[in-house]
């Protein structure tokens, strides 16, 4: 059966076929959930916030003109909702530059134990969870959602160079842990 494009589904929903929206929900729920889980660092909050995001996206469908990809538009809603949720939890909200300049030190709060390690992927994901929200969001959008840096810059509303700086900085932080703990030989 032919897979309907996002635009075709949205057109159908706009014509009054409300139930077609469930196709969009099914298509994006897991990836968006992964992004929220990494940003909010709490599964329950992530699921509740994701429900709000889908409702919000539905209410704003009339403003979606199809100029950008639906995924970019939707992830922008998800990302901004996560930031609002974080700020409402009185967490620190940074502006674009402060997040780029942000110095984080994974080594200090990282306690590696070879015997507890289940697998490499899980191990690296644990490290990603320790990154600041915006950095883990970039890692998630780049690797899991396979977005280009240009698309990520549109989602996060920051410049392309800042996306690259944050992506490189996140990878370097992970790399330093692996090298400093002499894990490269074990992990390869």
């Amino acid at each position: 059966m032919k897979k309907l494009s996002d635009q075709e589904i949205i057109d159908s929903v706009k014509l009054g076929n409300q139930s077609d929206y469930s196709i969009i929900v099914d298509r994006y729920k897991d990836k968006a959930f992964s992004l929220l889980k990494k940003m909010l660092k709490n599964e329950q909050d992530a699921e509740e916030t994701l429900q709000d995001c889908f409702i919000k996206a539905y209410n704003s469908l009339s403003s979606f003109k199809g100029e950008a990809k639906f995924s970019t538009w939707f992830y922008r809603i998800v990302y901004n909702t996560a930031l609002t949720k974080l700020s409402s939890k009185k967490r620190k909200t940074e502006n674009e530059m402060s997040s780029v300049d942000e110095h984080f030190n994974l080594k200090s709060d990282y306690d590696y134990n070879v015997s507890e390690r289940k697998d490499m992927s899980e191990f690296i994901n644990e490290l990603v969870k320790k990154l600041p929200e915006k950095h883990s969001a970039i890692i998630n959008l780049f690797y899991l959602n396979e977005m280009s840096c240009e698309e990520i810059s549109k989602v996060m509303d920051i410049s392309l160079s800042n996306v690259k700086v944050m992506l490189h900085r996140s990878r370097n932080a992970l790399k330093d842990i692996i090298i400093n703990n002499d894990l490269i030989e074990e992990l390869i």
Binding site: K37, L50, I55, Y143, R171, K175, I179
Partner: protein
């Protein structure tokens, strides 16, 4: 000692360098064990992150979202009915006033060509109706009607906002 910066290694990993720059990096990586170790670590992270599996939401997630949307539609429908009924009452009220004005105009300018009997009947009816309406809309009565009208708008507004508030709470639940 590091011969290559982290930035260059990241750019090489992302394929952002041209052929000449890439060849230089490859040469350096062959010579420098330290840089090779750093690059291998980056490559490993890149590979592992590319294989990351997405997290799964609960099985009922889609149904919950669609249920919330259905609630929202039901609420919107109720609100629309409420608005339509209030608008109808106000429209009837306004129609009454318009009819009154029209009758006044007709009765004051009945054409002379009409037969005297019809003219007389229309005039009689018109005069009676107008005198009744004049009574209704004059002096103290007019203030009472105005007050009733304003009160009905206030009560409708109150119920409308209460209804909306309850709806929002239900949607949030």
């Amino acid at each position: 000692m590091n011969l290559l910066s982290d930035e260059i290694l990241n750019k090489y990993l992302d394929g952002e360098l041209d052929r000449n720059q890439s060849s230089e990096i490859e040469e350096t990586l062959k010579k420098s064990e330290n840089d090779r170790k750093r690059f291998n670590a980056l490559k490993l992270i890149h590979k592992e992150l590319s294989l990351t599996q997405e997290d799964k939401v609960s099985a009922e997630f889609t149904n919950n979202v669609m249920a919330r949307l259905s609630k929202k539609f039901a609420l919107q429908k109720q609100q629309n009915y409420f608005i339509i009924s209030i608008a109808s009452i106000l429209a009837l009220f306004c129609l009454g006033i318009v009819v009154y004005v029209v009758i006044t105009i007709i009765s004051s300018s009945v054409p002379q060509t009409e037969s005297p009997q019809i003219t007389e009947t229309v005039n009689r009816l018109g005069t009676t109706l107008i005198s009744e309406l004049k009574k209704l809309f004059s002096g103290q009565n007019l203030s009472i009607i105005g007050s009733i009208f304003s009160l009905s708008i206030l009560i409708s507004g109150y119920f409308f906002f209460e209804h909306q508030k309850r709806g929002k709470i239900n949607l949030g639940a």
